[in-house]
Amino acid sequence: MSRVAVIACGALALDVRAISRARGWAVDLYPVPAPLHNRPAQIPDAVQAELERLEGEYDRVLIAYGDCGTYGALDQLLERHEGIERLQGDSCYDVLAREEVRAALEEQPGTYLLTDFLARTFEHTVVRELGLDRHPELLGDYFGNYTRVLWLAQRRTPANQAAAERAAARIGLPLEVLEVGNAGLERALETALAGAVRA
């Protein structure tokens, strides 16, 4: 059986694992730290390092990342690695619910998006990364232009719901919920994995 590795943004890794299990795909998961999305210039190097580490060990490697603010640099890296693909889309919000996100941002440009992962990890992936724990006075500098938080609910469990509410309250914005599920991510993974899981 062909061996498949998924190098995944830490923000997607748990979902990739859950989907793979449910679908019976045999994949090994290699997460890259999620906070890199705040420093996207470092993402290609981090992915490259994983690729080098895994070289020759797998029949196929998939990159569970969108462009993620690398503005083409991730694609340039993957061009040098034939047959290795990433998820289609600019960002994980795009992968989860492209059209809905577009419509929501058009309706209210001041929409701040949450995924399940962001909601659950908000205190460290957002609050601490942006320095709001040390400098609460910066809240307005960051979020002053925002009018709402829109949670792209993948799994609307009570725990996730509570986390999303806490996150929105933390930055003083009303919470709206859009249940998107994980179908978008599953489809994106399926497309990129098609060849590998069949083998």
Binding site: R39, E106, P109, H135, N145
Partner: protein
């Protein structure tokens, strides 16, 4: 404190974003007769430039930059009235805004501070600015430069939309167009027909001055 010590203090306290210390230093400097220009050009601006360099190198992240910018802003608020009139009128007016659909503004605000520090008269239209608003404000203020800022790949196309609107309003030749923001590159700026691009705030200041000078020379010829 000697003047030299005050400059040193302003430089270091801006670097670490200690706003009260910076404001205190500026007031002390003024009290002992230091020229505002010296505090600005020999301490505050170089400090914020160093902040930008540290950000580029990855030594600083956004919060460090924001608190430094706030400290600088506080100093500018004190110095602005004292600097007014002498230089800014000659350097030029810069009209700045984040394009429609986009509300990222940290980079834009940083540019504004550096432009203002360098003596520009800056008019900030804020975020989510539609083309009509840019047109209306250009007609009203007759700026030398208009700056479009965008941070999302989905909003960058507004540069082109704004430039088309300028052409339609017959204003394209009357104003220098500069563009910037994290996803923007020189190639992209060229492709949409902007006059200038800059990757960071200090370069934006230099580029804006250059373009204004070029244009003034042309007008004279």
């Amino acid at each position: 404190m000697t003047d030299e010590e005050i400059l040193q203090l302003l430089y270091e306290e801006t670097l670490t974003g200690n706003a009260p210390a910076v404001a205190g230093g500026v007031n002390d400097g003024l009290a002992q007769g230091m020229p505002p220009e010296s505090m600005l050009f020999d301490a505050l601006i170089p400090s914020l430039e160093e902040v930008g360099a540290r950000f580029e190198r990855g030594d600083y992240f956004v919060p460090e930059m924001l608190i430094a910018a706030r400290a600088m802003q506080g100093a500018l608020d004190i110095l602005r009235p004292l600097l007014a009139d002498n230089e800014s009128a000659q350097i030029g007016t810069f009209l700045m805004g984040t394009v429609k659909g986009d509300v990222h503004d940290i980079g834009k605000n940083l540019c504004n501070i550096m432009l203002e520090g360098a003596g520009f008269n800056v008019i900030d239209l804020g975020v989510n600015v539609p083309p009509e608003k840019f047109i209306e404000q250009i007609e009203e203020h007759q700026p030398d430069v208009v700056g479009f800022s965008a941070f999302l790949t989905t909003t960058m196309p507004m540069f082109k939309a704004n430039i088309n609107a300028l052409e339609k309003a017959g204003l394209r030749d009357r104003v220098i167009v500069m563009v910037g923001g994290a996803p923007v590159t020189q190639e992209y700026a060229d492709a949409v027909g902007a006059d200038g691009y800059a990757a960071d705030a200090s370069t934006a200041v230099r580029k804006a001055k250059e373009l204004i000078e070029l244009r003034r020379e042309k007008v004279l010829v």
